[in-house]
């Protein structure tokens, strides 16, 4: 952007959001150039500077966002919505320069409707702050992703994220009642005030998961739940992962656990060691059931029967409780995957019939690269299938940034293509971003026209978050 245009656009943006809410500080730009995606992190690690925005703005309201988008649309300057910057797909990266729109000043709770059990908030609020707000009043949103402290309401909606209790309380799209979307012409679109209607398709589902490529969500209404009277854990060791799948599937026909986590034989070795103190072959499963105590008693009885019927050994409740208390611990430095490793979470979701196929295909495809290890567990269960939360890890990746960049993308291509070819999808809950955009066409083929047409209609100048989601 030339100097004159920069001044002109800044002048107009300052008028929209106030001078103190616009920044040209290099440090501000840099802090928005690295999210949780491995590639920009690799850039920083290797002493390179990832792509920077030209301007950073911090609007405080829907109205201010609308003004920013109108200005950007007029000058045809890209806009990148940025929440907590904890996304792992490079979704918020300012790849083409332009305006970085940080939503975190929009952090207010707007309405707390105890009668209908709903809370409405601005989307820049950090999720745990929203959860504490509900907790103080005796409720919970029941969305407990591991990044609850890192990410914003808008970020989770934009990637259609998921929390650890999803098997009972759903994904974030199940928990969201309605949401708005400010589009580049400055108009504010609203989904219907309530879901589950027959007033045409639910617009909400077109906004959720759109990753900032259509506009900026600024306000959303979410469900509230009363805290369960009790939450009980139970761990099992299955003879193999296949019997674990069957038990999980059968449980969902009769009961509704909040957590089911099944680990492949590779991950079981480490998990079992934590529980029993020695290695034991098999597939480890951790289950949680919650609600009113008498109902939990009944659900627990069915859970035990089903697991036993597939030859599972009952390992008691200690493990689950420990896991719950320390569920965030594994995401802190020294415990989480970090440099010098190369790594990626390739979560996908698949029907029960195909899960074994997808698992082996992805394992084979990624482990074909020398030095790559593939591990997986299965979380977020439905009546028809479940999420495979799999990761590839390479201990000693190339130091050369160019080589590392190519190798990283080749591993991803191989893993995701294997998933798609066996009935999986590009991604389960982390989204597409810039990391996987190129693979969207491989999944959707001609159906991409739906996304592309929506993009063209709502964002004809293509200013919203370019090079993301494959549109």
């Amino acid at each position: 952007m030339n100097d004159y245009m920069l001044r002109q656009i800044c002048f107009e943006l300052e008028d929209a959001v106030g001078r103190e809410n616009l920044s040209l500080r290099l440090s501000d730009k840099i802090s928005h150039s690295v999210d949780n995606f491995w590639l920009p992190r690799m850039y920083a690690d290797r002493g390179l500077v990832p792509p920077l925005p030209d301007i950073v703005v911090y609007p405080g309201s829907t109205e201010e966002v609308s003004k920013v988008l109108v200005i950007a649309n007029y000058y045809k300057v890209p806009v990148y919505p940025w929440g907590g910057g904890a996304g792992s797909q490079g979704g918020a990266l300012p790849l083409k320069g332009g305006i970085l729109l940080d939503t975190k000043r929009m952090n207010r709770v707007l309405d707390f409707d105890e009668e209908s059990m709903m809370v409405t908030a601005q989307t820049g609020i950090i999720y745990s702050q929203l959860e504490y707000y509900a907790n103080e009043r005796g409720y919970s949103l029941m969305h407990y992703p591991s990044s609850i402290n890192c990410s914003t309401l808008g970020g989770f909606l934009a990637h259609n994220g998921i929390g650890v209790l999803s098997t009972k309380y759903g994904k974030i799209d199940d928990q969201c009642i309605n949401v708005n979307l400010v589009i580049p012409n400055g108009k504010v679109l609203h989904s219907a005030p309530v879901p589950k209607h027959s007033s045409g398709p639910d617009l909400k589902h077109m906004f959720l998961g759109s990753e900032g490529t259509l506009g900026v969500m600024t306000e959303a209404t979410m469900k509230l739940y009363r805290k369960p009277e009790c939450r009980r854990f139970r761990a099992f060791l299955f003879p193999d992962v296949a019997s674990g799948f069957k038990a999980g599937r059968d449980m969902l026909q009769v009961i509704r656990p909040s957590v089911i986590r099944l680990y492949d034989e590779e991950e079981t070795k480490t998990q079992i060691k934590k529980v029993l103190g020695f290695a034991k072959p098999g597939a480890f499963m951790n289950v949680a059931i919650e609600g009113m105590t008498d109902m939990v008693d009944v659900e627990e009885k069915h859970m035990l029967e089903i697991c036993r019927s597939y030859g599972a050994e009952d390992l008691g409740s200690d493990y689950g409780e420990k896991w719950w208390d320390s569920r965030l611990t594994f995401y802190f430095p020294d415990k989480a995957l970090d440099f010098p490793l190369m790594f990626g979470t390739m979560d996908t979701i698949v029907r029960y019939r195909d899960i074994d196929k997808v698992y082996w295909a992805m394992k084979k495809a990624t482990e074909a690269f020398e030095g790559v290890r593939f591990i997986a567990h299965f979380s977020h269960w439905y009546e028809w299938g479940c999420t495979m939360y799999d990761r590839f890890i390479m201990e000693d990746p190339p130091q050369d940034p160019d080589e590392a960049f190519r190798l990283h993308n080749r591993i991803w291509n191989a893993g995701v293509r294997a998933a798609i070819s066996c009935g999986g999808v590009v991604n389960d809950h982390h989204g597409v971003g810039t990391k996987l955009g190129r693979l969207m066409k491989e999944q959707y083929g001609d159906s991409m026209i739906v996304f592309e047409s929506l993009k063209k209609a709502l964002d004809p100048n293509g200013i919203m978050n370019p090079y993301k989601m494959g549109v």
Binding site: E20, S31, N36, R41, I126, E136, N149, L328, K335
Partner: protein, 366 residues
Amino acid sequence: MLLSKESLHTVAACRFCTMCRHLCPLGLALGKELNNPRAKALLMEMVQKRSLDEAETAADMFECCLCGACSANCETGYEPPVFIREARGQLIGDGLAPENVTRALDGLLEHGTLYGMTGEDALAQHGRFEKKDAPVLLYVGGLAAVKAWPMVQAFMSLLGKAGIEFDVFAENVSTGSAEYDFLGDLKDVRDIAAACADKLNAYEKAETVIVLNPSDARMMRQQFSDWGIGLRADVRTATAFAAELVADGKLVPEKQTRTVTLHDPARLARDLQETEPARTVLVAMGYTVKEMWQSKKLTRCTGGEVLASYAPEIIRKTAAARMEDAAGTGAQALVCVCPACEADLSVCTDGIPVEDLFVLLDRQCA
């Protein structure tokens, strides 16, 4: 910029981590990406790798109140204030600190307080304090003398009511707490701390030093001993001392029915791990304490006197955010126990009344 091994280790851990962003009082109040340890560590990382000039980070390193909320939440035990303090010292040493910071620091180094006068002169405005060689020595500090005199008066009145004989420390020296926040662990700062200790030790009859400002108490109790600076007397915070007087029956407050919420000062709650004394006093006064979610170890700092000295516009926001927390509890008043927090919150025009624990206690003790 040459950072210590500990700082480099912390930078390497925090540079890509967002696990504590939900607690940073500046991040929450300002909504800016730069206001969390990840961003600051990323900048330091780039400076180390020479992909960024250190001058570009100068303003950012001073946008932090060193409250330690990030460290309190860090399950692997990293402490971002370590590298932030160190970076500040270097930026100041290299003449790169922002002008507002340099101006505040110059004043501090000249007067020993951030208020354009020495601590001794600040106290002298309120009267003369003859040395009585009492067993208790009250360390008021420049901040309380200038900004929170009603708190000091109330505390002295309480000591009188409890029959405690005390001296007031009216010397021309600071603990070095504010200097440490600006400059980090430098010889000059250690010298200031050592000079303070010498003057305190000169009160030979004093067995206990009571400190009104938790930052000064932290300095004396933790930093002095880390630096091998000895204090003869036992250092007590004003809240812990008052709670003990109530527990011992030396102060018997009349009970009143009220619902209040309590703001825990970051350094009192986190560094000194004192969260209960103020609560026991409030309960003894008949009050019901409604907790804010961010209370005790997870308290949300209002900004503090050092940040207030050069960035009052930030304090307006951090203090207002805290006021909102307090109002959200439905309590009738927000009770404070620290002169710095009270000074920060005094800029808020909206919200529930801010009241001082010692003033309330003094009012309820005959």
